[in-house]
Amino acid sequence: MSRGSIAERRLAWLLCAPAVMAMLVVTAYPMVYALWLSLFRYDLRFPGERHFVGLANYASVLGSEVWWQALFNTLLITAGSVVVELVLGLAFALVMHRAFFGRVAVRTALLVPYGIITVVAAMSWRFAFDPTTGFVDALLGLERAWLAERWSAFFVIIQTEIWKTTPFMALLLLAGLTLVPVDLLRAARVDGANAVQRFFKITLPLMKPVMLVALLFRTLDAFRVFDTVFVQTRGAQGTETVSIVGYDALITRLNLGLGSAVSVLIFVCVVAIAVLYIKGFGIDFTRREER
């Protein structure tokens, strides 16, 4: 391709302008605004009393039990769901890769959880685990109010997240599996490597880049968990996540100052996770764009 002429550049910028505008107006500007608001004592119920307080909002968030507990809960849900999803997703991907019949059926079935509204999935599982309407207790011969206790509530929440998002993981990993050259596996088999060795020594290392991208996106997604918790416990029984804490401060209590501090802290956590993956595991996005 020739070097871009001025006309070409102008056209390019014209084409990109609306999308860039939308992205700036709806994310960058509100984020800066949140940063600004977080420095004020600002309660929408008493808008006249707005005044600058510096970092006091951050001090009160970071000094509160609620934030640290919510952060712990969020990390627990994130770790619990992502780890299980990786293992389960890999298993599902292998099934789709190896199944001689019903491959299309499996793929179609897996897209159903992906397409379903998260709120609906959370409702379905909530009713399933409910002691009066649900079938789970009857199936297990228990009389347990799963969502009324902390750890069993976590189990239901994580379980719902896993059900909803494993398909995404599985489909990405399946795409990664198809990149593994069959000749290589065959050669290894001839050389006497058994199925387990072939999987760990050849398939997994070759799939690593795809796996890391899938893991990064799922980790960030899981960290932002909101819908499932909102529908299933509304943060009760000590299951509040950071997103729920932010929502409650901002929308329920209309405390824009304190809520914005929570928002900024969540943003910082997300950046930290992204940096950890990109630097720590060396995900290379630039190479992808250059192609």
């Binding site: 059926a105 159903v112 959880p113 596996l185 909101f226 929308i251 969540i266 943003f267």
Partner: protein, 279 residues
């Protein structure tokens, strides 16, 4: 695929695996359908399947003051968001794939950054802003954030598809006297249709699914969408949880998605994996 020399035992293993996966994926769907078909009196019978099939819950849902408007809002908002987001993303993807200009990498990086951005971080400012500029509780107030958060996905999917288009055809059109814009509209758009279609499905699913913005930026039937309506469904009595009605509403909004998935699964899979694998 590895041609199995191991024979029927291996076949059986993977076949059984398939059945387990399909069951795992479909049981909650079957459960909510079955729940929606139970009579109110049977809701607590703890059985998986209804003993008597009844459509009373569907009657309740469609005579509810909130659900039909929410359904209309959801369809309109998700539809319009999809249309606009995919159009804007098409422009960007075309520029990024085809044109030489400074800032190309920056745009793809910005898209990636927004894909990772936590929406909860901006609901406060948006809530405040929308109320002061009159976007609160309007369609536009939801469409704007949906477009923004759908753009990264749409741009990445479309860029991946656009890279595989035989662009020489465009050059030919340019030689024949078409302007770049004409070449884009007459030659490339038809060729790009499958990719555009894929991106549209994924964006629609995203907008249809959103809950956080829906409960934050709306307050009434004017713009409240289905996920929010379902979560706040109160039913006729405050003291009785409207389980059956919620189940029926859930089924109503799930059916279109399942049909979409059944019809276009190949495209959806291609779109989902386009960004992650081509590396």
């Amino acid at each position: 695929m590895e041609s199995g020399g191991k024979g029927s035992l291996e076949r059986l293993f993977w076949g059984a695996g398939s059945i387990v996966v399909v069951a795992y994926a479909l049981i909650p769907v079957a459960w909510i359908i079955s729940l929606s078909l139970k009579r109110t009196a049977d809701l607590s019978d703890q059985r998986f399947l209804p003993s008597v099939v009844s459509f009373e819950n569907y009657g309740v849902v469609f005579h509810d003051p909130q659900f039909p408007p929410a359904l209309w809002n959801s369809m309109s908002i998700a539809g319009l968001s999809t249309l606009i987001a995919v159009l804007l993303a098409m422009f960007v993807a075309y520029a990024v794939v085809r044109l030489e200009f400074p800032g190309r990498r920056l745009i793809m990086a910005a898209a990636l950054a927004i894909a990772m951005f936590p929406p909860v971080s901006i609901i406060g400012p948006l809530f405040n802003l929308w109320r002061s500029v009159g976007l609160y509780d309007t369609w536009a107030g939801l469409i704007l954030p949906y477009i923004t958060f759908a753009l990264p996905l749409a741009i990445w999917v479309l860029a991946a598809f656009f890279r595989q288009i035989p662009w020489d055809l465009e050059k030919a059109a340019r030689v024949d006297g078409a302007t770049p814009l004409q070449a884009f509209a007459r030659v490339i758009v038809p060729l790009a249709a499958p990719g555009v279609f894929t991106a549209s499905i994924l964006v629609f699913i995203f907008a249809w699914n959103d809950f956080l913005f829906a409960i934050t930026l709306t307050s009434s039937n004017d713009a409240r969408t289905v996920p929010a309506a379902i979560a706040f469904f109160t039913g006729s009595s405050r003291f009785e949880q409207p389980t059956g009605a919620i189940a029926a509403a859930s089924v109503v909004v799930t059916v279109p998605i399942i049909l979409l998935v059944l019809m276009f699964q190949r495209r959806i899979v291609a779109g989902l994996t386009a960004g992650a694998v081509k590396g």
